[in-house]
Structure formats: structure tokens, C-alpha cells
Amino acid sequence: MNGVHDMGGLQGFGPIDREAQERVFALFFGGFAGGFYNIDMFRAEIERMPGHEYLRSSYYEHWLHAIEALLIQGGAVTHAELQARIAELQAAGRKEPH
């Protein structure tokens, strides 16, 4: 599909953010090994991100977006469960700032 992901030749973007690479890669492989997606389904899911969200988020946030969407589609987790866990971790983070 013609989307903002197809950036070959575009100018003015900075380097790739590598900070979250290890954690997100580990998540990716869990879902892949679990049979929830293949690499092409994963890439296609990233490409379906709304353009404004794609441009506002980092490279590995694109990965995380696709992993979450495909795990929800595959029935591994529900959207509500994911939101509840995020809220739980945020609350824990507020108690113990690091």
C-alpha cells in the first residue's frame, strides 16, 4: 500500500532510535514463535498504522503497535486486558519512581 512507511527518497528524518530494541525484539519473537503472525503480516500491520501516528512514534514503537494488534487479533490478549496491565504498571511506576 502507498503509505507513509514507504519513505525511500524522503529527506529530513533523523537516525533510528535504538533504545527499545532489545525488549521489543523479545516481544516480537514471542508472538512469532507462538504462531500469532509471520514477518509479512507484521510488516503489513505496521503499514496500516494511521499516518499521523506512524510519524509521531519511533521505529520500535511501530513494532510494538503491530505486536499488540496481532496478539489481540489472534486472541492471545484482549484490548481491555492490555489496557488494564498498562494502567497497573503505570500505577506501580508512580509508587516507585526510578
Binding site: G8, G35, D40
Partner: protein, 117 residues
């Protein structure tokens, strides 16, 4: 999709996975052939970048036969076909101001290409 058997996980992480398939399909092109990347705009996943569509390149190598990402992404089967390393000159892609010494090599599926007239 079945889950990966546990004993396959470590080897896959160590070596990666290939989507190479048995070489059953005829090759439409050979090294040295001049081709034009199709000007197509599929609504699904594709590995054909927009900036080469409609551009003229030269086949430098036939990499062999691979599973077609565009269909695998949507559960439409492997549709195995040849993948070629195609050289596009920087001037073909970016115009006369680009360096005449530079070029871009892109691995492209058989179905993305037409013979140049």
C-alpha cells in the same frame, strides 16, 4: 498458524529464517536484462518501493526462488517466484544532479518487473 516447536526456537534465533523455496518456477529474466519496475499501487503489503516504480534498471543477479511476501502477508499463499537483484542508476532514480557513479541495488520479485521495450 502453528506455534514453533520449542526445539526450533534457539536455532531460528541464532541463524534467522529463509523464505527460499524449491526452484520450480521459470525465470523470466537473466543477468544483463534491462527491465522496468511496474507502476503499480497495490492496496496490500508490497516490497516494491514507490521510488522505483516506472524506473528502468538492469538485472544483475537471479537470487533464486522465494515465497512472495505480498501474498504471505494476507494469508494468500506462498506464490513462489524468482527474486532478482536489480541495479538502478542514481540518475535514473533521482535525476541528472545525482552522481553518475552511484546506483541502488534492490531485490525485486519477478512479478514486479516487465522487460524494457
Amino acid at each position: 498458524m502453528p506455534a514453533l516447536p520449542l526445539e526450533m526456537v534457539a536455532p531460528l534465533l541464532a541463524t534467522g529464517a529463509s523464505t527460499r523455496m524449491p526452484n520450480t518456477e521459470p525465470a523470466r529474466f537473466k543477468p544483463g536484462d534491462v527491465v522496468i519496475a511496474r507502476n503499480i499501487h497495490p492496496i496490500n503489503h508490497t516490497r516494491l518501493p514507490r521510488y522505483v516504480r516506472g524506473k528502468r534498471g538492469t538485472v544483475r543477479a537471479d537470487n533464486g526462488t522465494f515465497s512472495f511476501n505480498d501474498t504471505v502477508a494476507h494469508g494468500l499463499g506462498h506464490q513462489p517466484q524468482h527474486v532478482y537483484s536489480v541495479r538502478f542508476s542514481a540518475q535514473e532514480l533521482w535525476g541528472p544532479d545525482a552522481s553518475p557513479l552511484d546506483s541502488v541495488y534492490i531485490d525485486l520479485f519477478d512479478r514486479y518487473l516487465d522487460p524494457a521495450p
